[in-house]
Symmetry: C2
Subunit: 647 residues, 2 copies
Amino acid sequence: MDGGKLTTVDLKSIIINDPFWNRYIDLVDYVILPFQWELINDQVEGAEKSYCIRNFRIACGDEKGDHKGMVFQDTDVAKWLEAAAYSLAKKRNPKLEAAADSAIDLIARAQCEDGYLNTYYTITGEKRWSDLLEGHELYTAGHMIEAAVAYYEATGKNKFLHVVCKFADYMCTVFGKEEGKIHGYPGHPEVELALVKLYRVTKMTKYLELADFFVQTRGERPCYFLNEDCVKNQNFIFPEFKDFDLDYNQSHMPLKEQETAEGHAVRAVYLYSAMADLAYEYQDQELLKQCETLWNNIVEKRMYITGSIGSASYGERFTTDYDLPNNSNYSESCATVGLAMFSNRMFQITRDGKYTDIVEKALYNTLLAGIALDGKHFFYVNPLEVVPEIAEKNPTYRHVKTTRQLWFGVACCPPNIARTLASLGNYVYASEQNTVYVNLFVGSRIETDLSSGHVELLLSSDYPVKGDVTLEITPEMDGQEFTVGIRKPSYSGKAELSVNGIKEAVCLEKGYLYLTRKWKAGDKITVVFDVSFRFVRCNPRVRDNIGKVCLMKGPMVYCLEEADNGKYLASDIMDSSVPPKEEFDESLLGGTMCAGLEGMRIDYSRVGDTLYEEERPSYIKDTFKAIPYCCWNNRGKGEMIVWMREK
Amino acid sequence: MDGGKLTTVDLKSIIINDPFWNRYIDLVDYVILPFQWELINDQVEGAEKSYCIRNFRIACGDEKGDHKGMVFQDTDVAKWLEAAAYSLAKKRNPKLEAAADSAIDLIARAQCEDGYLNTYYTITGEKRWSDLLEGHELYTAGHMIEAAVAYYEATGKNKFLHVVCKFADYMCTVFGKEEGKIHGYPGHPEVELALVKLYRVTKMTKYLELADFFVQTRGERPCYFLNEDCVKNQNFIFPEFKDFDLDYNQSHMPLKEQETAEGHAVRAVYLYSAMADLAYEYQDQELLKQCETLWNNIVEKRMYITGSIGSASYGERFTTDYDLPNNSNYSESCATVGLAMFSNRMFQITRDGKYTDIVEKALYNTLLAGIALDGKHFFYVNPLEVVPEIAEKNPTYRHVKTTRQLWFGVACCPPNIARTLASLGNYVYASEQNTVYVNLFVGSRIETDLSSGHVELLLSSDYPVKGDVTLEITPEMDGQEFTVGIRKPSYSGKAELSVNGIKEAVCLEKGYLYLTRKWKAGDKITVVFDVSFRFVRCNPRVRDNIGKVCLMKGPMVYCLEEADNGKYLASDIMDSSVPPKEEFDESLLGGTMCAGLEGMRIDYSRVGDTLYEEERPSYIKDTFKAIPYCCWNNRGKGEMIVWMREK
């Protein structure tokens, strides 16, 4: 471990103002949070009922009724509170804070005497911790803890934090290696990383130890889950999963022996995030190495170019190396959130830009593709190729939606996207003693305290439309010496850096340009990255992308849509020898940089009705227009393709 | 209707002796029938228990116990009896006949007083006809009737025929449009075509009328199934199908309005076969036209080049036009049997060779691919592209088996393949008044009575290895005048026909070469078809085959296997400008005509470990070996591909 872990910069000290991100950030504050509040309160006409707040009222005794919704329905309010906290950290908002406080009051009242908190088990009276495999109690606890920590950090109010501490204290008496305690661990990891967060804010080591216990115990033989009643009696909460192997939840072998990313993708990356946290906290080099092995397996063999993971719908899971089908994949939005979390943690430990590259890829592509520009419609599943007529008629693709949905029965993704957008600042900067790291090129202003003193940074950029990024520096006092580390994205061959207009030769280390000097107010660093359009190929071991190219600009993946290019996108051939033209389209989605491509299309007017014949189809030259993948499906239903045939 | 329907030639009058088919036919007689008899009697170590015969013993009261197996488990013995009957028709076999007679005795004793026959409902005491949607009573009845008719025709014994007539008589009192009768129809069509067969052998019009009732009533609004208790109470025999739409079983609209092939592929083609039968029997031009429309929809838009159907596993069903994925398809062996049945019926009505072309395609490719050369292992699912590592790890392909299985829980396909092979003669010839039709070029000898007198035909051929077919004719008397119709397969451009060595210009009508003359003993017709290797392309509306070719020889589809060509078949590129070489391989599967191809492969030794990069992979020239698709997977597990990339 090279000397400690970077920390994120306090969200209260970051103001984002960026031509690309503003519209998304604003969506969270002005649309998503109010809308999701209405949703969890069952106030949206036409949307499926959430029952989330109602369950808490019933658990408190305020209302009579049965628990409704999923066993983990409570997490909807937790994720909403976490997103609300991040929003409040940036800017106080009395109305939002009042809503959050009311939810927290309700949660506090729903807590049992002994600290236990879960409306499903409280209302139904089912036996606590009797179904760690699918009961989601610890998963739900984890989201409560994450929310409480965020709310405390944002507002300084500690009521919610006390609630979750009491809950965590109780869990510490229930789980552990000591005799009489449960030697189990959650079917769905999440509480582990949450407990580390709780430890960091409270400094109570028992929380860290409980997280470590859950991680270390996972997958021990004989597998804990096989002795649970739900398995023995084949009485599953989710009967459709009864045939799942243990690798579905990463309990197929002791965790320390796992070297490939397996099973449910969200569970996997939440678990690996906690492993990274523990590797850092315990300075465990072996665990860190394992995290690297798992991360490499994902990024080098099991990740889509859009930063999404999960090649199969059944099990929403990883499958095997180089298996990346473009149209039947799951690529859940939540899994991308988890991949960004895991990667960001790995960067904070290793200071290696290859991890931040993946954070950037995940955020600029799949995370944003998950949300419509109205802020009210979401994708869970993020295919790289869709033909609506087929996706709607062939049940192999029945998980694929051809338009974003208002709100799903299982509402994990929308609030997960919201909390990630609301906490974007956490991904933009990091700092350590006397160094500030610029990870993402998102227009913003931060203040942070380095060992040399207070520093202000103003980042301006039109990234990724343009590749130049300017950092204006305001130290506490002129002549203050500290280091600025600026990520050089791996896609950019060159990276010209100048200070106050004068070119500087700087040290490049693991993807970061480091500049140490005595700064004075008004110093300007300018870096220019190469964000020109480029064609990328896939490793040919991925059978689905053989003979194909993907168009990228900076971190952004581009795609063809039917709205611009007509039908039968799968047969269009791009001429990659012709450089794509930059075509900024004011009318498209509030202004978007598009690409003009040259290529050939099949002349379908001359294609007959025979299914099998001996002739080859004839092609005609044509031009094509590509748009950013994150913007797809904002103009109605239609075909979309990322990997295009190459001439 | 052009003057009546062709009839099949009595199986008793056909002896097949063909270098290609002998090994399969022999398999039925010497391996499959004895083996399946042991299987349905639960005498095979290591195979899943069938319980089929045991259920009948319990139903008779010979044994105590519960019904085990599927609701339609009885059909296993029915299909076995049908195959046994065809085998006995060709050649008496006392041991086989004794086994069949014993099964028939048991069946007769299991029949209820009123004629009802079904071990599941008899043993469980569940209410008869209460679940037409999924109870499979009528489906099971249909297979019993087919078996009984076949057994009667083969042996002249009428015991089994009496049993099914009694059952059918009873069904006629239960179902029908009259008040007090059930206005429903089977969830799984099959009884319809069986009742037509029973009508033809008994001349009892009420059987034909019942078949017609079932067909005409199907899909009437409101849909019968929606008022069944199983649907109203959501109490399904197959709960995994509860979300299925009505098109799954072709009851989504009145049958007369259906113009596209929808739903479960086996159900669809069994139903369409019955429709073709009824169109003929009632001389119903409109119904015939509808059959043509449905058949065209299948063959022009929804059929694999291997003659298989069913693009999706979930629902084992048709999906939509031009949706033909090669690796996630279902392509059930039974559906191919049904397609051959439907197509053969359409030929017999229309005398159009386009139908026989599909019979031939189905039999030479998917039917044979369904069975291993040991006769004991079977495929239900017949993909056109398999990568075992992926099929076994990605649950999207969990229906795909990477090696043939000994016997499945649902044992529809093995006996269905057996009965089709055992009755191959029915597909080889047809006849009408004074014309004999040669449909398939299978070495054989037939005797048949035309209006001009008795005729013997001896067909010799090494088809499809070679394209020349010889027919030696022996009329009852010299100078006897009649017509021989020989199918000219649509793939063959030329077709040179000569009689006794002298070229004859003959009339080609709807794919048949007609030759009418006065024949004398020893006359020899020789036809030469072009069965040289050819590359076939797919309509580019099928996105999965864009830029690819398929190698064919005559009716046979070829494929690449890993055993001959190594891994990563999906990236191999064939040079279609180089004519494939004929390479007969004595060592392969008892002697098989293979193809030597030229092309390029990616040099994987130079492919790096990066997943996404900007370089194109480099290719090296190489040669490839293709084998018939029907022979794949007889040399262990490995990759296989039908549609190959084309240079």
